[in-house]
Symmetry: C2
Subunit: 275 residues, 2 copies
């Protein structure tokens, strides 16, 4: 057993949406220590340009690498869409994104090969899901839609609200018209809207939660490369770090997690230069 | 006539909302050269902590100071609310915010001294408007409400949309119940929602556009301190700088301005240390 196995897994997101991934990783890999970084001073990434997203993501990953993690999970669809290749080139530990797991699960679930994808402006513009789906199934018809209001609605806490239902109809009705049977939630905030989305799309559409599929994917990969943590006596920990003050984190984290977390620490990120 | 008068005015915002101020300054001070900085890589400020807003605002102001401006206009309510004092201490040129002009105009307009204030989470939490109104009129009753969904709605372009009307009702109806006769639009994005707001609040409520009141305030102050530009032969210029790639700027600026602007340049901000 390598000593690397007992190192924590690093997970980062542009803000706090990545806590949906933390929630699932904790559920599926309860024995792993986790270090979470939320770049709350610069959130969101989904409205920013690819160049800026790559720079921010590499700085986030550098912070986690400096903390001595055994693997990096990019719990942010925008950063996964634009920056995964750059991070894979730049860091020696394995880097896992949320796109590929979502793509694989969507292709398992779909029956009619008509798949909807929703996400931030930047994620949709990247066409990362569309390309990933087509690369694995050339029959797939992909209908993608940017939904920039959904993150603010989640952060406002309007998870069950007439306004949210109306917004979801505006965004999702055109996808339903295209007879999708599977919808990829391509943003880590969106799982919180699953009940509201279910009302809009009905029972016939599979909702692919990228947080959940990502956690399963990470477990499989860590197992394959022999990096799963050994059973240990002490309880595993989750250490949160944020780039902004931690006030709103304490308030918002409760919406994403059904277990308590230690208080977050504020950090400055190391600057990153492409190698 | 001092040579300083012919220097440009610097205007900054967390993103592109400050273009509503540019629009009004250009209208009211057509002879002034303007340099605009939008910190689009880190937008928005309204969800960030005071400490982070102060740091970002001082870096923005430092950039403009390095460009040799004769005055700095903080076209961002959140930065005005939290960082104006720090900037006044740190820079030798005059610094004008949007809060005080809005406060003064609201007190001129109100008849019943019942004033509503809407803005981002950070602006409302600062209580900058409430304190400013009370400092100048101890009869004033102030009813403040954070409206975090309005900026995303403007950026989505839903200026005239049933969803926007519903959101405005949720935010504004409680203020109308308090019988306000004046509503301060405490965010530079909000003037774009004036027609939608007018439908919700009716004719009896004065809408205070902080962009417009700020432009009048800047003209008055520059006149008082003898810094207005002399009449010049060449047309005045507006130079936009952004911290993110300029793609979305070109697309969005048209919503805010009724005149064309030169292409934006991407810049890195100087680091700032409190003096």
């Amino acid at each position: 057993m390598k000593s690397g196995n007992s190192l924590p897994i690093g997970i980062f997101d542009s803000g706090i949406g990545g806590l949906t991934v933390v929630q699932q990783v904790r559920r599926i890999l309860p024995g792993e220590d986790l270090i979470y970084l939320g770049d709350t001073a610069r959130v969101p990434y989904g409205t920013k340009s690819p160049e800026t997203v790559v720079r921010f993501a590499c700085e986030d990953a550098q912070f986690l690498a400096n903390e001595g993690v055994k693997a990096i999970v990019v719990a942010c669809n925008t950063a996964s869409a634009w920056a995964l290749a750059a991070m894979e080139r730049s860091f020696s530990v394995p880097v896992f994104g949320v796109i590929l797991p979502g793509v694989r699960l969507a292709l398992q679930k779909t029956r009619n090969h008509r798949i909807g994808v929703i996400g931030t402006n930047a994620t949709i513009r990247s066409q990362a899901y569309t390309k990933g789906l087509h690369a694995r199934n050339d029959e797939a018809r992909v209908f993608a839609r940017a939904c920039p209001l959904l993150v603010p609605l989640v952060e406002e806490g309007w998870l069950s609200h007439a306004v949210t239902d109306s917004v979801l109809h505006v965004y999702l009705d055109p996808l339903l018209t295209r007879r999708i049977d599977t919808l990829v939630l391509g943003c880590t905030h969106y799982p919180l809207l699953k009940p509201a989305m279910r009302k809009v799309v009905g029972k016939g559409v599979a909702l692919i939660d990228s947080a959940e599929s990502c956690a399963h994917f990470v477990r499989d990969r860590l197992e394959t490369i022999g990096l799963l943590a050994a059973r240990r006596r002490r309880p595993s920990f989750i250490k949160p770090f944020l780039t902004d003050e931690t006030l709103r984190f304490e308030e918002l984290a409760g919406r994403f997690l059904d277990f308590p977390m230690e208080p977050a620490q504020k950090v400055n990120l190391p600057s990153f230069s492409t190698r």
